[in-house]
């Protein structure tokens, strides 16, 4: 029986399940042993990561958001306005927009128009394929006009391995969009339009060394498809959402958690992304990261309308055993490896 069979909004049962995996020392106890407990955020916030909704045109097997075409959660303009105010009032330099597919939020263009006047740096995490749908074919030019940095999932440099994770035809569709982005000036070595790719493992194993796999991607994509990009980020699959279901159903959960815990790397602690950012959900709820968001682990106060920098700086980060994914091996964050 799957622990996720009942519905996709079972964050409490996911948290409880992760707490009680036999032989896995609680993450908080692990960092207590090395003097990092309680884990505090930094004095400043460098990134506001905004999850504008769970609607997506894909249903990726590893997706911690459990996003898909059937989802309806989508951030409204009022919450976006509060995000913009938070960025402006607190001089937060980076606005990082994620989803779901952010493009499927009808307010995205407005949000970026406004944000580009406030934040120094706007990032959109795009799945690429959505940009081939008729309604969104103008978005690459829009992104370029607003100097938006794009971070795009592309789990492998071959069709078979990518499609197994993200769906039939996704790889070649992604390549077509990457080519178009290159034509617009994205992903050029000395250009200002940044195009970064994200590798994540195609299953229950850790990612390779970031620089090594980046080299493989760069060589194959250039040679076979004439595609270029700026950087490749490796991200460890986090046992949350659809990936947690996969681990459980495939009998890989215990082995994967042991792999994460046995690869615990103390040097990743100082660069954990939760220490530099605040994450906002589609409904304005506040979290330490997108994974805590999907597990319903709210910050206090819980809503963006109650945010103050004074309360959020040096706040205690909410921890769980899923946090082992960010401290395994070379570490993991939305910006790739943290200990290179």
């Amino acid at each position: 029986m799957s622990i996720m069979n009942l519905n996709e909004n079972n964050s409490n049962s996911q948290v409880e399940y992760l707490k009680n995996i036999e032989g896995i020392k609680p993450f908080a106890d692990r960092i207590k042993e090395i003097g990092f407990y309680s884990l505090k955020s930094n004095r400043t916030i460098s990134t506001l990561q905004v999850n504008v909704g769970k609607v997506c045109n894909l249903m990726c097997k590893h997706c911690h958001v459990e996003a898909g075409p059937h989802r309806t959660e989508s951030m409204n303009r009022d919450i976006m306005f509060q995000c913009l105010k938070m960025v402006a009032d607190n001089h937060i330099p980076t606005l990082d927009i994620t989803g779901g597919a952010p493009e499927l939020n009808p307010n995205l263009a407005w949000f970026i128009e406004e944000a580009s006047q406030l934040a120094g740096h706007v990032i959109v995490r795009t799945n690429l394929t959505v940009l081939r749908l008729n309604e969104y074919t103008n978005m690459p030019e829009f992104y370029a006009d607003h100097n938006v940095e794009l971070i795009s999932s592309l789990p492998y440099y071959s069709a078979k391995d990518t499609d197994r994770q993200r769906g039939e035809g996704v790889f070649l569709s992604s390549i077509a969009v990457l080519s178009r982005l290159n034509e617009l000036g994205y992903g050029q070595r000395d250009g200002s339009l940044k195009l970064n790719l994200v590798y994540n493992p195609g299953g229950a194993f850790l990612p390779p060394a970031q620089d090594a796999i980046e080299g493989d991607f760069r060589r194959v994509l250039a040679k076979q498809y004439g595609v270029s990009f700026n950087n490749l980020y490796t991200i460890t699959n986090v046992p949350v959402g659809r990936f947690l279901t996969f681990l459980y159903d495939s009998g890989n959960l215990h082995r994967y958690m042991e792999r994460l815990t046995s690869s615990f790397n103390t040097s990743t602690i100082s660069r954990l992304m939760c220490r530099d950012q605040v994450s906002v959900g589609w409904n304005g709820q506040l979290y330490d990261c997108d994974f805590n968001q999907m597990l319903g682990l709210n910050c206090t106060p819980a809503h963006i309308s109650e945010f103050s920098l004074e309360t959020f700086k040096e706040r205690e980060i909410l921890l769980g055993n899923h946090c082992y994914a960010c401290t395994a091996g070379a570490g993991s964050s939305c910006g790739g490896a943290t200990s290179i």
Partner: protein, 110 residues
């Protein structure tokens, strides 16, 4: 059912250091040095290890280096080709010994 090979035994590998700790330490030091990036990349070395694991038919090594090769960024197509290299060498080694058969047969025969 009892078998000679037990998957859980892989995690007990380090118990081989209990009676001969100095030799174990030397082995581990050598082993970890071998697999670092060098003239060959760590990814290439993991593929070689995977191929050799199949040639020597060690189930522990096959498990360890399947995961190891994936974690170095290889895919199943590359790993399968590596195993074919091992298989080809084993097949070739078998066949080339056929020359020995022919030599002996020719010597014995008219």
């Amino acid at each position: 059912m009892e078998t000679y090979y037990n998957p859980n035994d892989l995690s007990k590998f380090a118990t081989m250091g209990e009676e001969a700790p100095e030799l174990w330490e030397l082995f581990m030091s050598y082993y970890s040095s071998v697999f670092k990036d060098g003239a060959l990349s760590a990814r290439e070395k993991a593929l070689i290890a995977l191929a050799v694991a199949h040639a020597v038919q060690c189930p522990y090594c096959i498990e360890a280096y399947t995961e190891g090769a994936l974690e170095k960024g290889s895919n199943q197509a590359q790993m399968t080709e590596a195993i074919h290299v091992a298989a080809a060498i084993r097949a070739g080694a078998t066949l080339v010994h056929g020359v020995q058969m022919k030599n002996i047969a020719n010597k014995l025969g008219f």
